[in-house]
Assembly symmetry: D2
Homo-oligomer: 222 residues x 4
């Protein structure tokens, strides 16, 4: 995968983009082999077996010598979940600085509350309700946007005006981490308990990692 | 300061509360003195001098052996700034779990955009505009709240419905960290460049720390 | 367990000592319950069930709101393994500062190299060899000690002289961490792959944690 | 600087080597500009000014999106200081695994204890004492090496035998970190209070960083 490669998410409303990286499957092998003073030049079958062993037995430190920088565009409620991962590094657009490029996430299909699991959602909203809900949603977002613009026009500061902007607001951020921390992010955020919109973003990150570290991603959590 | 002590902020809309802690000014002294194998039983003048020396010269590790747990209630846009401090630990109310206790932050006084500093605000909004802005703000927040309740009523899942809730929404979280990391949080977030609402919360944290570690807080950043 | 309680290790040559702490089993329960805005006053059966659920499903953040400070005396080769745990905080005696209290770890019984596992050891050294090995070991340590004292006597700086001191040298350090990070330390360092001397120290830490957080320690890694 | 470039230290006894990296001066600029939604293609004067502003005012997060992997060979007493930097990632040769390539650091010139500063050393050892000290040092190291080899020969496990090896033992490790954390390492470990052998290693790291991020290194701590 080339630097700059971009994976659209949310039907093209958001994206995950590869900014830069270093390392490959072989890096973890050689970092592990430093324990007994050895090094490989090319990845062979024995090295892949070692990768699997490291992943299976939780010998995680060798995966910290590869690093990836991404750029992401996701709504605020997803960014908030993402940034709970404190081993990753972030730089995000600030609504104290700029009022430009205000965009909102619109659900392609609204989901119903899960009847048992208090945290989850299910795909059972009838078409009529779907339509009704979409209208309420859109009106709410549009009202917020309008109120925001009005507040700015009459001179209210950006850092106050933004308080009316909804969690649906798209945000953009740089994001960096070593391979281990990104693998852990992917594992947790592609889990069945995660919100579908979080899973979609995390799956796109996994696609990037799988292109750069194919054997590691295949063997991880196997 | 007793455990459970609560400091109201935002005119009583939010709070910072002391849950628990361990350590005192003497702890850092003794952690530092382990370098040369000594220990004090009670804080004396020489110990306080050592505290000042540690703070001034960036010998920060001795301040990591005291720890504080707080509870905070602040609006989302402040929580987002707070949680960029990745050395602290957080557990926060989740709007995937519960739709109860929805409350919004209302500014006591809206501020104007600073004319030069793109990130800052100033206290120059005329009374008339102030009133007008407060009305726009309140209507936006109330519309969002109504839309949220409607979406829930017709069966939309909480994790989708919350997307219409504004950044003004109050959130609550547990927060823990060692003294060093809390001192750094206070230093950065009481800085003149910080948003006034962030400064108010950070000042309340500082009041807690000053009650528990009076000499350290006095000597820090002196 | 009272503050100051000390657990001897290595036949009394070393120790693990409880300096201070805050939190209990209930703390993690309440930190978890903040997700849906609830709180318990006393630990009941439902709370213990929740603890087990959190531990089993890797919901680890609630365990970050309890904190423990310990003091440890272990040989350098164990301290080196310990300090690879980067989420814990340390302050250690420095041999640049002081040349006092030089003590060395003596194995109660030397072990043989494991025939297959390159990293492990087994209890198969014959008595005669045991005795011979103990003599070589003691002479090496004593020669190093003597050389160290001589270098200091003729004016060589401590930071150079210490280069002749062996990994058997005892060191002392303050050590702090939240409950999650200490539980992870215990899990990894009481594992069968760990060196016996590391396991002995980690087991003593586990005894401390089990006294302070009995249900959590019982349910962790179950 | 090409990947694989190696900088000898300690008169060629040790080294710092560049394994891999990503990022450049422009990366921090663009990560910072994401705050207001802008991006540069090439580093110009305004960008360099921004770098200086970020460095001077402690806006450190943009420097976390560049990453460097190094390999180092230093004696144990220096590795111990190095690994106190907990934001960096390490994989080190293990003396539980291998008894090969045992090498010891020999001081080119032994230093005297500083008369006032308890932690420091000075260059005032007379030639005669220098010579005497070098002999004591060499004999101690050789005795330790011999004892180590003997213990292994009679079947003692590596993890026990290594306890007689001195702090002068050379170790090798992989080391990774983002640019911010490496800059902080360099700042602290090239400080006048640091041991000369630590400074020499940190200066070599600085040479690598200055080749990859010339403007950032020049503007940092200015």
């Amino acid at each position: 995968m080339e630097k700059g490669h971009t994976i659209p998410i949310y039907g093209g409303q958001g994206y995950i983009s590869l900014v830069d990286y270093h390392g490959d499957d072989l890096r973890a092998v050689n970092a592990a082999r430093v324990s007994f003073g050895r090094e490989s030049q090319e990845l062979d079958e024995r090295d892949i077996k070692l990768l699997g062993y490291l992943a299976e037995h939780g010998h995680t430190s060798p995966f910290e010598h590869s690093s990836v920088t991404l750029k992401a565009k996701v709504p605020l409620f997803i960014a908030r979940q993402w940034m709970r991962h404190r081993t990753l590094s972030y730089n995000e657009i600030s609504r104290r600085y700029t009022a430009e490029n205000i965009e909102f996430w619109y659900p392609e299909k609204l989901r119903a509350q899960a009847p048992v699991n208090r945290q989850a959602s299910v795909d059972t909203l009838e078409d009529e309700i779907q339509e009704h809900a979409a209208r309420i949603y859109a009106e709410a977002v549009e009202h917020a946007d309008l109120a925001y613009q009005l507040l700015l026009q009459i001179g209210v500061c950006r850092e106050h005006a933004r308080a009316v902007l909804p969690a649906a607001l798209f945000t953009e951020f740089y994001l960096s981490g070593n391979l281990l921390n990104l693998l852990r992010f992917v594992t947790i955020r592609t889990h069945e308990g995660a919100q579908a919109e979080m899973v979609e973003a995390a799956q796109a990150v996994k696609v990037v990692l799988a292109a750069l570290f194919p054997h590691t991603v295949e063997l991880w959590n196997k």
